[in-house]
Amino acid sequence: MTRGAAILPVAAMLAVALIAWKAIVVVGGLPVFILPPPEVVGARFVRAWTDGTIPPHFGATLQEVILGFLVGAGLALVIGYGLARSVLVGRLLSPYLVAAQATPILALAPLLALWFGAGLLSKVVICSLIVFFPVAVATMVGVRSVDANLLELGRSLRATRRQVVATLEIPAALPSILGGMRVGVTLAVVGAIVGEWAGADRGLGVLVNLARGSLFDIPLMFATLLTIALLGVVLYGLVVLTERRLVGPR
């Protein structure tokens, strides 16, 4: 399939979704403050980006997401490796990791905001927490999946511990780790918004609340939600691109 032919169904799908959206508004006779039609949201989206309403909030959220993702995924790689290679580490840590994952981040966020303040730090903590689990589990599964035969080959070639990690375990675990990161990066966006709702003066989450509340600008709220969704899509796409570059054909 050529590139043009590949884009065609995607564009058609988008058109169908937009028409359905518009139809619901028209047929349902919905007022703008319940569901604004797509063209109103589109126009508001463009205006909010060009008149400087969204950019500072976007910058704040982007910073939280990226830092939170890096910290959470970084820790997850180390702990996930430990979980895969040490029974003791698994026994000691697993119950807490699962418990932390099972506790809704929504319930924890106000507490974390209280502990770490209304600034960047509390958002980074919340993001990392939410990113941590999928990446740690993916790392653990990936490292455990390394072919024992290849490890024996490494041993027969006198590979050092570091060489085993760098030449066997990381390459073998990479597809799994990047799969975990795909999930993690979208969750990081959710984490940042939740963190902002628990207390912040900037960020896309703050703007959603402002638009819905004191500004009562529902099209702006939708434009902000659209921005959040696009941020998630772009970050996810970046992970997929990284995956294509790093994993390659096997």
Binding site: D147, G154, S156, L157, R158, A159, T167, P249, R250
Partner: protein, 254 residues
């Protein structure tokens, strides 16, 4: 030239839920420099285990392995190992797989590249340097594994049923290629096999291992002249030596 391998009184057992399983008990085997020894024995006679001990991958309960007078207690660059499966790193190209031992040993890039080119030439896969293992046939993969085992110029090559997963024709061709390689590299070879015909075709001497716990019960010299061609393989199948090996195997299996 060297590659004098001496295995003395090797015993290996594996812990089992109930008691222990004696796999090898009192194995003696000496391989002269440049000699090819085929190791043949019934299933579960510990052929692969013996090869692992010789490669320094497994510490025996008793006994010693010496290569050119030096004790082998851990994997050694002077010993090349080819497994039953190719064990190539699927994310690496053919060239990078062959380069792997050199990389681990810390060879600088230019020297590594030169050696890899040489090895690919040797196994006739120069044109596949950038291919992935998944793009190769089974026979080609095992040739890459062979090149990798030869990378550090070992004095002994240990092969664990290296071609057993291949079809009969490919297997014949690779056996022939192995002999050609041996002629050019002058290493000693220990090859584990299930096939009497293959053992005779390849080896100067066939060592027959008994069933568990494995011991060497016969050392039979192969009188075929070298270089050997494929028709020697047919002759091997019906030779008195084959009958003798079969008889010994029958004795130990019974």
């Amino acid at each position: 030239m060297s590659g004098h391998l001496v295995i003395r009184d090797v015993a290996v057992d594996f812990a089992r839920p109930r008691g222990r399983l004696d796999v090898l008990d009192g194995v003696d085997l000496e391989v002269q420099p440049g000699e090819v020894v085929a190791l043949i024995g019934p299933n579960g006679s510990g052929k692969s285990t013996l090869l692992r001990v010789a490669a320094g991958l497994l510490t025996p309960r008793r006994g010693t392995v010496e290569l050119d007078g030096r004790a082998i207690v851990e994997p050694d660059p002077a010993i090349g190992l080819v497994f039953q499966e190719p064990r190539l790193l699927p994310w690496r190209s053919v060239a990078a797989n062959v380069a792997y031992p050199l990389e681990l040993a810390g060879w600088p890039r230019p020297r590594r590249d030169a050696r890899v080119a040489e090895l690919l030439e040797l196994i006739g896969l120069t044109g596949f340097a950038q291919a992935r293992p998944s793009q190769l046939s089974g026979g080609m993969r095992q040739r890459v594994a062979l090149a990798r085992a030869l990378a550090l110029e070992p004095r002994v090559l240990l092969l664990d049923e290296p071609f057993s997963a291949l079809d009969a024709l490919t297997r014949e061709r690779l056996n022939l290629e192995l002999l050609e390689l041996w002629g050019r590299t002058a290493t000693s070879i220990v090859v584990v096999t299930h096939s009497i015909q293959e053992a005779i075709f390849l080896a100067d001497r066939v060592a027959v291992l008994s069933s568990r716990p494995g011991r060497i019960v016969a050392n039979l010299r192969v009188a075929l002249p070298r270089p050997r061609a494929l028709d020697a393989l047919d002759a091997a199948a019906v030779s008195p030596l084959a009958v003798e090996i079969r008889r010994r195997l029958g004795e130990v299996a019974a």
